[in-house]
Symmetry: C2
Subunit: 224 residues, 2 copies
């Protein structure tokens, strides 16, 4: 990391974060204070610029509030945290608060089916992970619409998600500093989910042009 | 399609749509009137139940208002509409209205890059498709965060989307009645996008457990 020292106005210009907000982050302990170079003057370096970029990413891409950002930043600054612990903190911070909906027979059954589905795949997932509830909610929605879908309809998607996530996790170099790794992970989780969704819809538009020529022998997309 | 004729109360019970709402849909022309069997009595059949299920799917899964539902239903009832035209109508109805943001140098450049990216892949996509704007917006967001991503970062995701969409489009039998095909398409587009997103996040959680053992020789997930 090159050490170019700048004043607070230059740091603000470089990062697109206002001077008032930079001072606020310092007061909250999200950003280390600058090195004093005179009365009322401090200098900042690349580590400060990187931290501000991380905070912007967490706010603007992850949609996180200050309290959750504080938890992530504290974990990054804690030298006892391993890479997996750090991802765990970031994953939990990105999850919406649990919606406390009434448990009905339908939701209890769906929760159990999702748990069995994940177990069968051998995925090790926290019991309170938001993704479990989301999958159960889609199952309940499909059934309310009078459809008979079970979790077997999820299989081709889980195969794709499995290979994709394995590749994405490995694409983050283990040598990268924890702040940069978390920033990448948040961008990857949030923005690339949007990118994948948009590309799938565009690909539907393209492929439905030849929707007449159905080929029932075509294998599932993960089989190739 | 079996023809079981029922009164309006049974139709309401079967479909979970209130009697008042059924009558409202008949007045709007979204649902054909029942066959009169006496003064103030009509009977309904499976075609009515299917149409109500489609309307519920469009409302509850697609989040569509009555006006957009009307457009889709009119297209289904129009015998001149081919399957691709019908998907086009549904695709456009599912898209949010264009956000009229100020075009800046950054957004104009990003739009052109997305257009070139889609052209290079040979995808035939309407110029006004919402997915184009969404992809351009993520590029702009990545760059505002000081990142140097280009559209080449989208390639592995586009490969996956391409194979997935091709399989999904072909999985809808060409012989299916247009109403059922559109219902499947809307469920597939909206709910399975959520399912894929949730599964990817769960798979991240699982795979980041062995995040230490990075293997830089691992190929992109679509290469297998």
């Amino acid at each position: 990391m090159t050490r170019i020292h700048v004043g607070i106005s230059d740091l603000s210009r470089q990062t697109g974060v206002s001077i008032a907000t930079i001072k606020y982050y310092v007061r909250l302990g999200l950003l280390a204070p600058g090195r004093p170079t005179g009365p009322k003057r401090s200098e900042y370096d690349d580590a400060h610029a990187h931290r501000l970029r991380l905070i912007r990413t967490l706010r603007e891409v992850g949609g996180l509030g200050i309290e959750r950002i504080g938890r992530i930043v504290a974990a990054i600054d804690d030298p006892r945290m391993g890479r997996h612990d750090l991802y765990g903190v970031a994953t939990r911070a990105l999850e919406p608060d649990a919606a406390v909906g009434a448990a009905t027979d339908a939701t209890i059954a769906a929760d159990a089916e999702i748990a069995a589905f994940l177990d069968k795949r051998g995925w090790i997932i926290r019991p309170e992970a938001a993704g479990r509830r989301e999958l159960a909610a889609t199952l309940v929605a499909l059934r309310r619409l009078g459809r008979t879908y079970g979790t077997e309809a999820f299989e081709p998607y889980a195969d794709i998600a499995d290979r994709l996530a394995s590749w994405e996790v490995q694409a983050i170099p283990a040598s990268e500093p924890p702040g940069i790794a978390v920033e990448r992970m948040v961008v990857g989780t949030v923005l690339f989910e949007r990118i994948l969704g948009a590309l799938r819809r565009l690909a539907h538009e393209h492929h439905s042009r030849d929707a007449g020529s159905s080929d029932p022998d075509d294998p599932a997309p993960n089989a190739g």
